[in-house]
């Protein structure tokens, strides 16, 4: 009798351990990059002190704009949402989506981007991107900027974003 009781308890414990835990989002951000500003786009592929912080005639650094791109992967069983972004390098940092409406291209702010469970969302040219406006200095090829993405459930994720002219392979 005691033997069967012990077996039952063990089986119950095993069943409890095997039961699925509450689903959670597991967010990873991959392949991040940001466009160099125009003053940082030419010349050598690496920033040089002589070029650093320069602006083109007619353009001040505070007018310069850039965009950051990346791929968000959610390996978890629950959906999440990207709800904001911040970067010290820019005065205005917004989630944007490029839309072409009636042949007119426009970049519209979006409040949130859903990240489905076991899914991925790509931020890429011509689609979702993080707009960086009012840059404090030109973004030079070769430099890295800090970008913090705010997720609804997963919280803040801070990235080192390389400045380069195209997406990493």
């Amino acid at each position: 009798m005691h033997r069967w009781l012990s077996v039952t308890v063990v089986l119950l414990l095993l069943t409890a351990c095997a039961a699925p835990s509450p689903a959670t989002a597991r967010i990873q951000v991959q392949k991040a990059w940001a466009r160099p500003t125009l003053a940082g786009s030419t010349g050598d592929m690496t920033a040089t002190p002589a070029m650093s912080g320069t602006t083109m005639p007619g353009m001040t650094a505070s007018e310069a704009t850039s965009a950051a791109y990346f791929v968000i992967v959610n390996d978890g069983g629950a959906a999440d949402a990207l709800v904001g972004a911040a970067a010290d390098v820019a005065s205005t940092v917004e989630l944007h989506e490029t839309r072409v409406v009636n042949d007119v291209a426009q970049m519209a702010p979006v409040a949130r981007v859903e990240i489905p469970a076991h899914g991925r969302v790509e931020f890429k040219p011509g689609g979702y991107h993080v707009m960086l406006m009012g840059l404090q200095h030109d973004l030079m090829q070769g430099e890295t900027l800090k970008l913090t993405l705010q997720f609804e459930k997963s919280g803040a994720v801070t990235l080192d974003v390389p400045v380069q002219p195209a997406a990493p392979q």
């Binding site: 030419t42 353009m59 310069a64 704009t65 965009a67 205005t92 072409v100 042949d103 007119v104 707009m131």
Partner: protein
């Protein structure tokens, strides 16, 4: 018994008519391209600061695009597509017949030296690709002549405000420009014959249109 000559000629002509009719039915048809509008004749300024009369492109097929260099997302895509077109035109041996033109819709910020740097970023070959700016009035002539939509969007307290919705003078600081996302393919007489997408171009499809205009010696008349 030999058939009479007139009967043999008649049967032959009938067979010829059937072959011609069948060819007309099955041969691929290329529809002639419409004429949308004429490229405005205005003198702008190229990336070297020299005057550039758009009328000087007469006699060449023109691929025209519009950009502003502060545009972080759309205009780089359009210009990368233009670069592909330049490379494909060169591979086809048509770089003497096809001129690429990119003009800014933001002349206040895109001065010639800015455009020159932008062109270099995309490895644009200046031998048949020119980047143009001008006074606001000159650029406006082109915008109106091509029926383009161009509107500045300012950021006030981190909120985008189109210039038409401003209640006061434009604020200092960054602005974006919403604009028509098309290219313009122009024949040797200066007539716009096709307006394919710009940033979302299907370069193969655009090249077929360019080839059709190159082969069209009537100039749309």
């Amino acid at each position: 018994m030999a058939r009479p000559l007139w009967l043999r000629i008649g049967v032959g002509l009938l067979a010829l008519a059937v072959i011609i009719a069948a060819y007309e039915l099955i041969a691929p048809r290329v529809q002639p391209l419409p004429v949308y509008m004429a490229l405005p004749e205005v003198t702008l300024t190229n990336q070297d600061g020299q005057p550039y009369d758009l009328g000087q492109t007469r006699g060449k097929v023109v691929v025209l695009s519009l950009v502003y260099t502060h545009c972080p997302d759309i205009c780089p895509l359009t210009t990368a597509n233009m670069k592909q077109i330049q490379d494909r035109v060169r591979s086809a041996g048509q770089d003497q017949q096809v001129q690429l033109v990119t003009f800014t819709v933001d002349p206040a910020r895109d001065r010639p030296e800015v455009l020159k740097q932008f062109a270099a970023l995309f490895h644009a070959d200046p031998s048949n690709w020119v980047f143009l700016t001008g006074t606001p009035e000159q650029i406006d002539t082109l915008i109106k002549g091509l029926s383009l939509y161009v509107e500045r969007v300012y950021y006030i307290d981190n909120t985008p405000v189109p210039e038409t919705a401003l209640t006061g003078p434009p604020p200092a600081g960054p602005y974006l420009v919403n604009h028509t996302d098309r290219m313009f393919l122009i024949d040797r007489r200066g007539n716009v014959r096709a307006m394919p997408p710009g940033s979302r171009a299907d370069v193969d499809a655009t090249m077929r249109l360019i080839e059709q205009i190159v082969q069209d010696r009537t100039g749309g008349s």
